[in-house]
């Protein structure tokens, strides 16, 4: 068994955990991050990627709205390569209560969110696919944020500043030493290796899973999981975020992202025991398509690429267990105060949007307890990739000889770090995933620098296999590159190919009709008919890497 000592442990590699790791590293605190699966594989990777202006909350929850708009401004500076400043609209349909429109304007004013009334004609000019029947439209500074890129950039920065990261490593138990939480016992889920890590402070940023984890330290933390489902549409049918101007309810938003658009969302209570088994239900798909079509009629003709769902980690603030005091805001718990267990804090709730603020709050408390560390700098230190604004035209010129589309996509995904990725060498810019323009060089970079341990991880870092064909040919190529770059053995590569296809299948099967079914038939012919992948018998699962 390995034993590691450090100053701080962060449990959970979602945006909150990654942000906390970075914050601590920037303050000079030595920290280790433990993530049971992959970076951004929890709720962080299962949402709309909406960079809230706060308008959505303005009417019901002024405090959240204020947090959103303030973080919105900060993120646009420090995370520019993860953000598209698309702007957003709130549109009122004939069937909607027209008074919400006025209420929204008023409350946005209280929250300090710019919210302008624009003419219907103007709205349709901006967003030609919009339902022409809308009665009115408001413009707000919504945008989009790529959660995978954001989280990975936080982790990368922390690692460059000395932090350590263990992915696919689960904290099985928080170890107590009398009235303190002294460390964690973990297990590498790919190799089976056991690791014990000790530190002066443990930050629990494990999201909705926090209830289970706290229980291992004898602490009660009640979550009220609520599932939300989303659909990804094959085309980018809108350029701005389109919100329905009404009291929040199912299917009232369409968010553009990269080459696709996304319809969200629903809200269904789920049992805590079932949070790892949730799937998208048929009635949710019907609701989303129906309401999506009301906002943008061409939704009915578009192909649905995948469906997925996430769990909102709503948390009970006090020890109260009946759910009346559920918070929708940020929750920071000092377990020394609340439960008389020292050395442990929990940061949960909030939004992707407010991850940085949550990280700052957690790191402030952690540093106070450690009596170490400098002041927070994350609000003014750009993330790797966002160091400088990069000019597309200049990059294209700099990389003359490499196809513009490749330069464009790499720049879009990695910002200023493009220079660590692209070289004017044919091998480097040869395409592996044609849908998303992912090159061999980008994959090599991800394998070496971005904590990638399997093809599913690679998809989160590069978008490989996320396009219309969902990884038909590039999955096999990626498996081959793991071997080529010594990142896995042949057996491991074949196994991760199975895992990738099974993972992809989860998102496709709820929407298996039309072109999706066609693609699946093709994919199954290739991987089973042609390759016989389902017949491969692997050596012992837990082979050493």
């Amino acid at each position: 068994m390995r034993r590691i000592e450090t100053e701080a442990i962060v449990i959970g590699g979602g945006a909150t955990g990654a942000g906390t790791l970075r914050d601590l590293s920037l303050r000079g605190v030595r920290a280790v991050l433990i993530e049971k699966s992959d970076i951004a594989s929890g709720t962080t990777g299962r949402n709309h990627g909406l960079l809230h202006s706060g308008a959505r909350y303005a009417v019901n929850d002024l405090e959240s709205a204020r947090e959103c708009i303030s973080e919105n401004r900060i993120l646009k500076k420090i995370a520019r390569h993860c953000i598209e400043d698309t702007g957003g609209l709130f549109v009122t349909l004939p069937e909607d209560d027209p008074s919400y429109h006025g209420k929204l304007i008023e409350h946005c004013r209280y929250a300090g969110i710019r919210c302008e009334e624009i003419g219907v004609r103007e709205a349709l000019r901006m967003e030609p696919n919009l339902n022409p029947e809308i009665l009115s439209a408001l413009r707000v500074p919504d945008g989009t944020i790529d959660p995978f890129r954001l989280t990975s950039a936080n982790v990368l920065d922390a690692q460059e500043r000395g932090a350590s990261v263990f992915t696919h490593t689960e904290v099985e138990e928080i170890l107590r030493d009398g009235d303190r939480a002294a460390g964690v016992r973990c297990r590498d889920r790919l190799t089976g290796e056991k690791i014990e890590i000790y530190a002066g402070i443990i930050v629990n940023a494990s999201g909705v899973w926090g209830q289970r984890l706290s229980a291992s330290a004898g602490i009660e933390l009640r979550m009220f999981p609520s599932k939300g489902s989303m659909l990804i549409i094959d085309y980018r049918i809108n350029n701005k975020v389109v919100n329905r101007c009404r009291v929040p309810s199912d299917g009232d938003i369409i968010v553009p992202g990269d080459t696709v658009s996304l319809i969200g969302t629903t809200s269904k209570k789920v049992d805590y025991d079932r949070i790892d088994e949730i799937t998208v239900d048929d009635d949710e798909i019907a609701t989303l398509l129906e309401s999506g079509e009301k906002l943008i009629p061409s939704v009915s003709r578009a192909r649905v690429l995948r469906a997925y769902c996430g769990v909102r980690p709503l948390i009970a603030v006090s020890g109260e267990m009946d759910g009346r005091e559920i918070s929708r805001g940020i929750v920071l718990i000092d377990h020394e105060k609340r439960d008389a267990v020292g050395g442990l804090i929990t940061i949960a709730g909030g939004k992707l949007m407010t991850y940085r603020l949550m990280a700052e709050m957690a790191a402030d408390l952690a540093c106070a307890k450690l009596k170490a560390g400098k002041k927070c700098r994350t609000h003014r230190t750009p993330l790797p990739g966002s160091e400088r604004r990069v000019d597309q035209a200049r990059s294209v010129k700099f990389f003359t000889g490499i196809p513009n589309s490749v330069v464009g996509s790499t720049l879009y995904r990695h910002g200023h770090r493009i220079r660590n990725i692209l070289h004017r060498e044919k091998r480097n810019y040869g395409l592996i995933c044609e849908c998303e323009m992912v090159t061999e060089g980008e994959i090599e970079y991800a394998l070496k620098k971005l904590n990638v341990r399997d093809i599913v991880d690679l998809r989160r870092r590069t978008r490989i296999g996320m396009g219309p064909c969902q990884g038909q040919l590039c999955a096999y190529r990626a498996a081959g590159l793991f071997v080529k770059y010594d990142s896995a053995t042949s057996d491991e590569s074949n196994k991760m190919l199975v895992d990738f296809l099974e993972e992809r299948w989860k998102g496709i099967k709820p929407v298996l009709w039309g072109d999706a079914l066609r693609e699946v038939e093709f994919g199954y012919w290739i991987y089973q008919g042609l390759f016989g992948l389902g017949d491969v018998r692997f050596e012992e699962e837990a082979e050493k890497r």
């Binding site: 081959g480 093709f522 012919w525 290739i526 390759f531």
Partner: protein, 429 residues
């Protein structure tokens, strides 16, 4: 325009049917939208590879004799075991005339090696994939070198070798891997790291590169008796150049199917089209049949996308439009339909039952078994239940078989295509 027979869909099934009909002097037209499943297939023709329990079938005809009795709706049962055999050997004969030699292990299946080094039972393979010499060398446990071009992104021998080494059949056979480099070829603007099998096939089809390639192959094989290479050794000059390469290197060079496009399948596709044309058949490529007019129990004519409204009429019609993949079947939110004539389809009303929970299920995916329902004469019914007596449905469009689970795709396409032709000929005489 009037033909004796119009065939909708020019894949393996439609072309087999077309050749058989054209051979008798009938006027036949094949209309086909685009590439067929052959362009993606392994290029081996599977007959029956796995029984209901997933165990390998070694003697497929013997197996079929019993099987058709207990599975009366299976396409092979509609053909009859005897005609399945007739069809397959007819097919082999036709390809032979076009210079493509198919190998079969007498009455038994043989195994071909897949991209991932698993083995698949199949009935016919091209001689570059399997033949007696390969079998002998294999029995002598000769060393194998799996070779690939440096930077070819569609084949990774390491991923195959690990599985081969584990297979009992390959026990005590030494397998090495090796790399060769592209000869100075083609357009300097193109990135060789993006070459596909078709680009490389072009290199092998060009005689002047052969010697250089032979030297490289011999060196990389470092003493092996076989060189296994991804299936990209040429299309148009394949037969001659393959022979030449073997002479120049003194090695047995054989091919492993890899990612699409399938060179092995394209060779068959070319041969079938060429054979069909030499018999006077008319192949209309790049057009899609969009509908037809049925009166009484007969399909009178069909119209096409590019036909400008003018109808194609014929005495009989064959629908060989393939499965979902080729557009022969279309699925919507909650139903499966046949898009050309809205024929009656076998499927499940509940979408959640179309597929298995895992991507690699033990029992296969149900949607692969959907298709246009027919009677024993391959005649379908319209949506409102009327039988269409001069329309025959064949190939991947048919229901009640699972090509992947059974390992029967190619065989069903060939034998039902052939069967339709025989039924049409019977009706005419």
């Amino acid at each position: 325009m009037r033909y004796d027979c119009v065939i909708i869909g020019g894949g393996l099934s439609g072309l087999t049917c077309g050749i058989r009909l054209a051979e008798t002097g009938a006027s036949v037209a094949v209309i086909s939208t685009g590439m067929s499943a052959l362009h993606f297939s392994s290029g081996s023709i599977d007959l029956f590879g796995y029984n209901g329990e997933g165990r390998t079938v070694y003697r497929p005809f013997e197996f079929l004799d019993e099987f058709v009795g207990s599975n009366p709706r299976h396409p092979y049962a509609l053909c009859g075991a005897r005609q399945v055999r007739e069809a397959l050997f007819y097919f082999r004969g036709q390809l032979d005339l076009e210079g493509i030699e198919l190998y079969n292990n007498d009455e038994s299946n043989h195994f071909h090696v897949t991209t991932l080094g698993t083995l698949k039972p199949t009935f016919f393979s091209q001689r570059s994939v399997f033949n007696e010499k390969i079998r002998l060398a294999f029995e002598k446990k000769s060393m194998i070198a799996a070779l690939n071009f440096e930077g070819y992104r569609d084949f990774y021998p390491e991923l195959a070798v690990i599985n081969l080494r584990r297979n009992v059949l390959f026990r005590n056979i030494e397998i090495i891997t090796g790399k060769i480099v592209y000869p100075d070829y083609g357009d300097p603007q193109r990135n060789p790291f993006e070459y596909r099998s078709v680009d490389i096939a072009r290199i092998f089809d060009t005689e002047r590169y052969l010697e250089e390639l032979a030297v490289q192959i011999r060196n990389a094989a470092s003493g092996a008796a076989f060189a296994a290479m991804p299936a990209f050794l040429g299309i148009s000059n394949f037969k001659r150049h393959h022979k030449l390469l073997q002479e120049l290197t003194g090695l047995l060079i054989y091919e492993i199917p890899t990612l699409p496009p399938s060179i092995l399948g394209m060779r068959i596709d070319n041969a079938l089209k060429s054979r069909f044309a030499s018999l006077g058949g008319v192949y209309i490529a790049g057009d899609t049949v969009t509908g037809g007019s049925i009166s009484g129990e007969r399909l009178e004519s069909v119209v096409t996308e590019n036909g400008g409204g003018s109808a194609l009429s014929a005495g009989s019609f064959v629908l060989a439009t393939g499965s979902f993949f080729s557009g022969g079947l279309v699925s919507e939110f909650s139903r499966v339909r046949e898009p050309v004539l809205d024929l009656k389809v076998y499927s499940d009303a509940e979408r959640s039952r179309w597929y298995a929970p895992e991507f690699f299920p033990r029992r296969g995916h149900p949607f692969l078994e959907y298709g246009v329902e027919t009677d024993e004469r391959l005649n379908p019914k319209t949506g409102d239940g009327r039988r269409v007596k001069n329309l025959y449905c064949t190939g991947a469009l048919l229901p009640y078989y699972n090509p992947i689970k059974e390992g029967s795709g190619g065989g069903v396409a060939v034998s039902t295509g052939y069967r339709a032709a025989e039924l049409i000929l019977e009706g005419n005489s």
